[in-house]
Symmetry: D2
Subunit: 277 residues, 4 copies
C-alpha cells in the first residue's frame, strides 16, 4: 500500500477545509497526516495531507481543483523518493554526507549524478557508484560553462538540484528555469555575512556563534526563501580555520535536515518565505 501527498496553496476562503475534506472522504481516503496553516497577513491557505490507499490521483485532483479558488496551486502525487542532481566544488563535507545517507537508503532521494567544476571529489564520489561529471571552467565564459552544466543536469530530469558547496553563481536565466527546485547551503546565519569568505568575516567580527542556512535559490544570490537554519557556539580561541571546521558540521546537518523537509513534501514557498507543514 502506498502513501499519497496532497499539497494545496491558495487564497483563503471560508469552508475550504470542509469542501476539500468532503471530496477526500467521499473517495474513502484514509488520512494519515493533515496540517493546515493560514497566513493571516496575506490571507493565504496552506494544506498538506497524506493518505494511505490506492486511488485515482488524476480524478481526485480534478475534483479538488474544481472547488478551489482560482490561482490555487495543487500538487497530488505518490510519496516517493525524489530524483536529484548534486553540484559541488572542492569541499567534501556536504556532498559526503548526502552520498552516505543515500548509500544507506536514508536520503529519500536518488542521487542521479554529481557535477563539479573541479575533479577533486571524483574518486570519492565514484566509490559510491555515482556518476561524476567534471566540467572545468577553464577557457569558458560564464554562460558557456553554465550551459554545459545545464545540458548535463537536463538529461537527468531532476526534481531538485542540490548545491552542496557549489562555489559558482548561476545567472538568472538559469535559476528562472528551476523555480523552487534549486537548494543551496549557505555558509552563515543569513542574512549575516552575505558574500565571500564568511568564516574570515565571522572571525574578524568576533562572533560567538557560527550558523548555516539552507535556502531555495532565486535570481538574487543568498536571498531566496530560507528552509532551515542552525548554529553552533564558538569562542575567542578559534581562528577563521577553526570556525570553518565548526561551520562545516553545521552546514551539512542543516542541509540534510532541510532536504528531509523538502523531500517529504513539507515545504511551501510563499513569496520570499517558506511555510513548513
Amino acid at each position: 500500500m502506498s502513501n499519497y501527498v496532497l499539497k494545496i496553496d491558495c487564497p483563503d476562503e471560508k469552508g475550504l477545509v470542509h469542501r476539500i475534506s468532503g471530496i477526500l472522504y467521499h473517495h474513502g481516503l484514509n488520512m494519515v497526516e493533515n496540517d493546515e496553516f493560514v497566513d493571516r497577513e496575506t490571507s493565504h491557505f496552506f494544506m498538506r495531507s497524506v493518505f494511505a490507499g490506492n486511488l485515482n490521483i488524476a480524478r481526485v485532483k480534478k475534483e479538488v481543483e474544481a472547488i478551489l479558488p482560482e490561482e490555487s496551486q495543487i500538487t497530488f502525487s505518490l510519496q516517493k523518493a525524489k530524483e536529484i542532481v548534486v553540484l559541488a566544488t572542492r569541499e567534501y563535507h556536504c556532498l559526503g554526507d548526502l552520498l552516505m545517507r543515500h548509500h544507506f537508503g536514508e536520503l529519500n532521494a536518488n542521487i542521479r549524478s554529481v557535477i563539479s567544476n573541479h575533479n577533486t571529489l571524483k574518486d570519492f564520489t565514484e566509490r559510491f557508484d555515482i556518476p561524476y561529471h567534471y566540467i572545468p571552467v577553464e577557457n569558458l565564459g560564464k554562460e558557456e560553462h553554465e550551459k554545459l552544466v545545464h545540458d548535463c543536469i537536463r538529461q537527468y530530469k531532476p526534481d531538485y538540484i542540490i548545491l552542496a558547496k557549489y562555489m559558482r553563481i548561476f545567472t538568472p536565466s538559469f535559476t528562472v528555469k528551476y523555480p523552487c527546485k534549486i537548494i543551496n547551503i549557505h555558509h552563515s546565519f543569513l542574512p549575516a555575512f552575505v558574500g565571500a569568505r564568511p568564516y574570515q568575516q565571522a572571525y574578524e567580527r568576533g562572533v560567538k556563534m557560527i550558523g548555516a542556512s539552507a535556502h531555495f535559490v532565486n535570481e538574487n544570490l543568498d536571498e531566496g526563501p530560507i528552509i532551515h537554519q542552525d548554529v553552533s557556539y564558538v569562542n575567542h580561541s578559534q581562528d577563521a580555520r577553526d570556525m570553518a571546521k565548526v561551520g562545516r558540521d553545521v552546514e551539512r546537518l542543516v542541509l540534510a535536515q532541510a532536504l528531509k523537509l523538502v523531500f517529504d513534501d513539507r515545504v511551501f514557498v510563499h513569496g520570499n518565505k517558506t511555510v513548513i507543514l
Copy 2:
C-alpha cells in the same frame, strides 16, 4: 471580536475532519488556526481550531458532540486568560519570572495568589500586589498541611495550579482532584536525576549539560506527561552550585514556555504524553 478555541480528542474515524468542518462552516465560523494530528499507534485523533467571531458556543458544541465517536473529549471556550494559583517554597527564580510577566500583561493568565510553606518570598510577592498565603508545615502532619493548602487553593477555583519550585510532594488524593491541572517544573532533563539534590547528582556524574522539564503532575512523582524540556551547556569548572545557577535559568524559561503552550490551549494529554498543536 473574540477568539474561540475548540479542542477535540477522540478515537480516529474516517471523515472526522469533514464532519466537524461541516458544522463549523454552516455556522459561518471564520477559522483562524487549525491543526490536526492522528497518533497512529493508538489510532487517536486530535484537533485544535481557533475561530474569530461571535457565536453560541453551547449550540455548536452540542452539534459537534453529536457527530463524534463516544469517549470523545471536547472543549470549546472563549480564548481568555487562565486563572492560576502559584505554589513556591524558597527559590525565587520561577515565581519571580511569572510575577514579572504577569505584571506586564504577558503571562496570558491571572495569578490569583501565591501559596508557600515558607514566608521567604512574601515581601517580594506583595510588591507585585499579589496575595501571599504562608502555610507553615510546623506541627502539622503531611495530610493536615496539604488540607490547609487545598482549602486555600479551592477558594480561587483556579484553572491551573503552578508548582514554581514547590518542594513538597502531594498525596495522590490531592493530585487526583486536579487531573492535568497541576504543572511542575522539574530540576533535570527527565527522566535523568529523578529525586533529591539533582544538581549535586549532575555534578557528581560529570554531565556536560543541565536540563529542566515542565510536566503535568499525576499520582507518580516526576512521571507525569512532559510538556516542554530544554538544556544548557556546563563544564568541569562548574561545581554543583554553579550548575544549580545555570539550572535556574533553564528552569524558569522552560516553565514559562510550557505555560505559554498550556494557556494558549495547545496541549492535549494522551496517556502519559502530551500532544501539542
Copy 3:
C-alpha cells in the same frame, strides 16, 4: 577571606607565565583560578588569575608591572560587586530581569539607579526600591538630552553602564568617555538585522531563528566587541510580534549571561573582539 582578581593583557613574550607566577608565588598567594590565552594572529597574551588571601595589592601590582612589556594593561582588584547604572526606555524584560536578580543578590552588581527617557517603568522600578530618573527628550536637542543623562550617570560613578533596551543612540563624545564600560543588548544575531525594527526585518526575511547579542558600545553603533550571543528557533506560524516575544526571552538571558562574564572580570577587549577567560 577575600578573593582578588589579576588581569593582564600585553604583547606576548617568552617566559611571561614564569615571571608573573614567580612574583605571585613569592608573595605566598593561593591561586584559585588561572587561565591564559595567546592570540597568535596578533601575538598578544591574556591572563586572568584569582587568589584567595589577604594581600597588599598595590605592591604586588607594582612588581608585576615591572616585569611586563611596555603597553601592558594590568588590573588587580578585590573581587567585588560592580556598581552599575541601568538605562531603559519602555520595554521591561531586560530591566525586570536585572532588578529581580539584583533583588535576590544574584547579579554580582549593585544597581545604583535606573535612568529612562520615558516614565513607563518608574512604578515598576521603584517597587524594588531603586531610584528612577525620568529624563524626557521633549523640547531638548540630542546633545542637551545626552548631557542631562550623563550628569545623572556621573553622580553614581558606575563601573558599568547597562543599556537594557535603551532606544537612544549615544554620540561618540559620550561613548568615548566610557571605553569598554557601556554594555548593550542588541535585538538580533549581529551582524544580521542591524538597525531599526529588527523583528519586522526578521519576519520579512522568513528566518528560522531569532538571536540576540550583548556587546560593548563603541563609537560605531552595533559594531562594538560582542560578549555573548544566543538564538531561539521560530517558524512560519510566528509573525513579527511573536518573533519579538521570542526575542525578548533571548535578549534578557543573553544580557544576563554577558553581565555575569563581565562582572566576574572574565572579559578582555582586544581590538574589536572579546577574549573571555
Copy 4:
C-alpha cells in the same frame, strides 16, 4: 616545526605553575597554548600546554617530574594523529562519519581497521580502503568472542578503541586493559535511558528532546566519564523510529566532537569525570 603537548595532572600545591613554567622557560620553549584548572573539591591540579619547537622530550619530562608531587601523572609527546581501531555492529552512521572525516584528513587519527560482529558494513568500509574484520559471535561463548576481538585489536596497538555503535558489552577483564582508552557513543542523554531500546523508552516517556553522550568505558556499562553530550528537539508527531533517526544525527556529531577533544589531548579523566582544557 612540530608541536608538543604536555599534560600534567597532580595534587595541587602552591607554586606549581611557577616551577613548571620555569623549566619550560629555561629550555626556551615557545608556548602556543596553556591552560590550567584546579578542582577545588579534590584539590587537584590540571595543566595542558602546547609548545612549538624542537626539543628533547625525555629530558624536559624528567625535570618536570622531579619538581612535581608524588602521584602525578604526566604525559609529554609530539602532537600527532592517534592510531585507532573502530568497532561497529550494523548501524552505519557513526562509522560512516568517522570514515569520511578520515578519508579527507580531518579526523586527526589513523583508522587502522574496523572490527565488527556482523558483515553488514564490510563493503562500505572497504570502499574507503580500510581493513574490515568480521568476527561473528555464532557458536562462541562471550569470553571466546571477546578474546578473538581482543587478539584482532592488539595487533594494531591502538591509542584508542572507538565503539561506534558496537552493540556488545565488554567484560571487565577486557576494559581493565584499556583504561581511558575505550570511547563509546551512548544513545541517550546519560544518565537517562540507560539500557536497551533507548529510543523506544524515550518515545514512551514522551520526551521533547533526544540526546547522546560520548564517554570513556570503564567496568560499569554506561557509567564511565562523560566527554561530551548534546541534544536535539523532538515532538509528539515523531515515533520511536523517527526519534532514532534524529538520535543518529546527534550521536555521530557528539562522537566526532568528543574524539576531536580526545585526539587534541585536551581530555583528563579525574575520578568518574572529565576535565577538558
